[in-house]
């Protein structure tokens, strides 16, 4: 038995209504314990005086693994050569920044106080790779969101009128087979349409082969996850990513939900108007207003930061459109296995560019205009907007108006003219930061024992020095405990531990087995039972942590 006592820190635990309460936090056998329950058994005491104590942070949308990450590493070989993991007792010879390798990813996240990160684009055909790779990322609990909505089996089910029940059974079958925890849709129907040579697909435009619209795919899958009772709503990368004027598509998409829960991801890339002489303007105010009015909607931002990165997406339709702006001039696309696709385009965001500068401002406008911190999440869509290592800088931008104004003033006048950013006075409080990085992500993912410090929660605890320079404060945690073990001390890694993988497995009508056996044999060319992952394949036989759903197995 081990018990840790953290004394004297200010506890920020919004999920339990605690805002800066000075109290001791106890962790016993890897879990948070009530103060009275530990008694004399404390084996380690950590002095947190002058510090802020929070639960481990959770990233709900970060591309940390899988085939597209490997393609990005391959394409960005200069970055890999330039940025290597510093040698040391816990070095694993990896490298990269926007293309960070598995071990480095875990290290850089945990130093900032993150103890969980979720991969938002698991293509079914690539799920096994994804899980093996995530298993090599230390410190973090992980899980994947399965990409559906362009898979031929599903589109055929919808187009042939097989009915909602059949769709629900298929979604449940796929979740079980791929050991994922939520459903992501990327450009509903659009990736599939590109395989039939369509170049754009609006919300109400029919797929050239299946003759169903993105709206139909979206509403059918929203209903499926609602009826299966998944904690996380549909995680949507909408139509028309990056296209000026896509603010209307985003507003129409919000309206299409008819009040059912929907999470819209990297909304910055979907908040563009066509005003001004360059026909590119901020739609943030309109989008934020719609989010504020519709409590069923949550968003993450996908903030961009200036510098070299690489964009990696399942949305080959959009990435093919973007290929001309690749910097350096190389890119890779793949159509994938009747499932989806991927497109990897290196890109450098430049502060001197009107479009990039405005993208930066649009992201911050969204952060500041969406009122409810429980429905907006801190992301850069790593690495698409910027590497996740820029989070501390982003936190300072949100918490420190003078600093934000200083950065804003550096942008080209043409871009500043189109943004209301310097009129926005809001500064995020520490409590709001604890919500957007901890409490709210745990809540929207249904991780009831994470993102808070109540008794029984996972022993993932972070202590930050309360530094007025919030960028410095959030760059290196003073202490990070993972499942009750000290893994970071004074911003340095002192021990290596591994997290768990989270999944859901709602029940399905077993007649779906025979249908998918036939589909795999005929269309895919290998067996459904080969496709299905087994528990022994997850983290050397540990299996996943299976979360309850309304329709449980």
């Amino acid at each position: 038995m081990s018990a840790v006592r953290i004394t004297g820190g200010k506890v920020l635990d919004p999920a339990n209504g605690e805002v800066g309460v000075e109290r001791d936090v106890f962790i016993q056998d890897g879990r948070i314990a009530a103060s009275g329950a530990v008694g004399e058994g404390v084996t380690e005491t950590i002095d947190a005086k002058g510090g802020v104590v929070m639960a481990g942070a959770i990233d709900i949308h970060t591309h940390i693994a899988g085939g597209k990450s490997n393609i990005a590493r391959l394409l960005m070989v200069e970055e890999q050569r330039a940025i290597r993991e510093p040698a040391g007792p816990f070095c694993a010879c990896g490298g990269g920044l926007s293309t960070m390798t598995a071990h480095a990813t875990g290290c850089r996240y945990v130093e900032m106080g993150y103890t969980a990160a979720f991969e938002p684009a698991v293509v079914g055909a690539n799920a096994r790779h994804m899980h093996y790779e995530m298993g090599d990322i230390p410190f973090l609990d992980t899980g994947g969101y399965l990409v559906l909505g362009n898979d031929d089996f599903l589109l055929d089910l919808i187009a042939s009128g097989a009915g909602q029940q059949a769709v629900n059974d298929y979604v449940a079958w796929m979740l079980a087979a791929t050991k994922c925890m939520a459903i992501k849709i990327v450009n509903p129907g659009g990736i599939n349409a590109f395989k039939f040579n369509a170049r754009r697909l609006d919300l109400d435009e029919a797929n050239p082969h299946y003759e169903i619209t993105p709206r139909k795919i979206l509403t059918t899958l929203i209903r499926a996850v609602t009826e299966l009772g998944l904690a996380h709503p549909i995680h949507l990368h909408g139509c028309n990513l990056g296209v000026p004027g896509n603010e209307q598509t985003t507003l129409d998409t919000i309206a299409a939900t008819e009040g059912l829960p929907l999470h819209m991801t990297h909304v910055q890339f979907h908040s563009y108007g066509t005003e001004g002489d360059r026909k590119f303007s901020s739609g943030a105010a309109k989008i934020a207003e719609a989010v504020n009015k519709n409590p069923n909607i949550s968003i993450d931002v996908g903030q961009i930061m200036f510098g070299q990165t690489v964009t990696a997406s399942a949305d080959l339709m959009s990435q093919h459109r973007n290929r001309g702006i690749a910097t350096p001039k190389r890119w890779i696309g793949m159509d994938i296995e009747m499932d989806a696709a991927c497109g990897i385009v290196p890109f450098e965001y430049k502060d001197k560019s009107f479009v990039n500068a405005l993208q930066w401002a649009i992201g911050l406008e969204l952060f500041l205009l969406v009122e409810d911190p429980w429905r907006i999440f801190l992301t850069t869509d790593h690495p698409n907007g910027a590497p996740f290592t820029t989070y501390p800088h982003l936190l300072r931008l949100l918490m420190d108006k003078p600093f934000r104004d200083e950065q804003f003033a550096k942008l080209p006048k043409s871009a500043r003219k189109h943004s209301i950013l310097n009129e926005l006075k809001r500064e995020y409080t520490l409590e709001e930061i604890a919500i957007v990085t901890r409490a709210a992500p745990a809540k929207i993912l249904g991780l009831t024992d994470r993102g808070h410090l109540g008794a029984g929660a996972a022993g993932d605890v972070v202590i930050y020095r309360d530094d007025p320079d919030r960028e410095a404060m959030f760059s290196k945690a003073e202490y990070v405990l993972k499942d009750g073990r000290v893994v970071v001390k004074d911003g340095e890694i002192v021990d290596v531990v591994y997290g768990r993988t989270h999944s859901v497995a709602p029940d399905y009508d077993k007649s779906m087995d025979a249908k998918l056996d036939r589909w795999f044999d005929q269309a895919i060319g290998f067996k459904a039972k080969t496709f299905k992952m087994r528990d022994h394949e997850i983290r050397d036989g540990q299996g996943t942590v299976v979360h309850a759903t309304k329709r449980s197995a």
Partner: protein, 414 residues
């Protein structure tokens, strides 16, 4: 699914790990140590799965039979004393590769897979310029015109056309067509392509790159590149196809293979402006692709990476096994899928290898290892780099995995 009879146990739907197509309909009959592949196995897979009833050989040090422990202790001494270790072979599952990465990062040394020549011809284009590629099931259902560039890849990927170009595909209207440009289908390939229109376009020896340049010219309205054969009809066919695919096995292309790959990828780029097309680069014997993938996510570089002083660096010329052996003093050879002979080398040899491996000379240390997909479970990647296949465990012959042996060796190093 398994059947038990007095003659042994027959396992059905076994996943085959060898060529990179990942067929999963092989049956294996296991009687004690003996293994015989039945239905589903191509000729090459049947030969590679076959095992006699003989007990597995012992580990050896300088030809003397020893226990595994002693062999690992001897290997640890050699590795510790080596100035410049070379890790070659790398025919192992993903866990084996992970364990070898950890070992090599501790001991230093270069790492390469024995069948990586084709992979690097492909990477010279994909890494520098990029391409639009596709996977087996996309070809199977979308591809109405497949152009096979150079020698018929089914020499290495035996059941290729069964898998990717059956006569019917979900979205194919009319008859599917396969054009062999600068190569010809084997009799077996022709049998697999029954019901598919086949065309063969002969290209004089050494002129495949010129032929592709001519095809590119025809597609981009550039000035005509003189010479034969006439490819105007092929160009029109690709422009008119709904989903044209250019496939090749880079390992079978000649010395200008990297340029041929680049040219093919440019043709696909041009086609995608108005219609759809994709590349299908084939390479992937003995989990070559999985080894490369595990390198990318753990180290950030492809294979042919060397570890020195706790840092990794990639150089596809200097770190090839062939080059590395010129300055290396110890070869650590790992080959679990087949009895692949290590390259000739005058330095010392530690082999964690298939029990049937025939060595030109006795290695200093030999540890016979089990095959992923027969002796232990494992993960391998398909040639298309996206799909990875779970390999099963079907017999207990007392052979350790490469992952176990590499870990055991690492633990013995101070």
């Amino acid at each position: 699914m398994t059947d038990v009879s007095s003659g042994g146990v027959t396992h059905h739907d076994v996943v085959c790990p060898f060529c990179g197509l990942g067929c999963d309909d092989v049956s294996l009959t296991v009687r004690g140590n003996a293994v015989e592949a039945g239905e589903g196995a191509c000729g090459r897979a049947a030969a590679l799965f076959r095992r006699s009833a003989d007990p597995a050989p012992s580990a050896r040090v300088m030809g003397r039979e020893v226990a595994l422990d002693e062999a690992l202790a001897a290997a640890a001494e050699l590795v510790s004393a080596a100035r410049s270790p070379v890790y070659g072979g790398l025919g192992t599952d993903v866990d084996g590769v992970r364990a070898l990465i950890k070992l090599a990062s501790k001991t230093g040394g270069s790492v390469d897979h024995y069948a990586s020549t084709g992979l690097f011809r492909n990477l010279s284009t994909s890494q520098r310029k990029g391409w639009i590629a596709t996977t087996l099931a996309e070809v199977r259902n979308h591809c109405d015109l497949l152009v096979v560039i150079g020698p018929d890849p089914s020499e290495a990927f035996h059941r290729l056309y069964n898998r990717i170009t059956p006569p019917t595909g979900r979205f194919i209207k009319g008859k599917r067509k396969v054009v062999f440009l600068g190569g010809a289908p084997s009799d077996e390939a022709r049998a697999q392509l029954e019901g598919v229109e086949i065309q063969t376009i002969a290209v004089p020896e050494g002129e495949l790159l010129d032929a592709l340049s001519r095809l590119q010219g025809l597609l981009s309205d550039a000035p005509a590149v003189p010479g034969g054969p006439d490819l105007a009809a092929l160009a029109e066919g690709l422009k008119g196809a709904h989903y044209g695919v250019l496939a090749w096995s880079a390992g079978m292309l000649g010395g200008d293979g990297d340029l041929i790959v680049e040219r093919a990828s440019i043709i696909v780029d041009i086609l995608n402006v108005d219609t759809r097309a994709a590349c299908l680069p084939l390479a992937g014997r003995d989990n070559l692709i999985g080894a490369n993938q595990a390198f990318l996510w753990n180290i950030g570089f492809p294979l042919r990476t060397a570890f020195r002083g706790g840092q990794a660096d990639h150089d596809q010329l200097l770190n090839s096994t062939e080059e590395a052996l010129k300055s290396g003093d110890l070869l650590i050879w790992t080959s679990a899928f087949r009895p692949e002979q290590p390259p000739a080398f005058e330095g010392q040899l530690v082999a964690f290898a298939h029990p049937d491996t025939i060595f030109e000379r006795e290695p200093e240390v030999f540890v016979p290892v089990g095959q992923p997909g027969l002796d232990h479970r494992g993960l391998a990647f398909r040639t298309d780099t996206v799909v990875s296949i779970p390999l099963g465990h079907y017999r207990d012959a007392g052979l350790p995995s490469i992952a176990m042996v590499a870990k055991g060796l690492r633990e013995r190093l101070s």
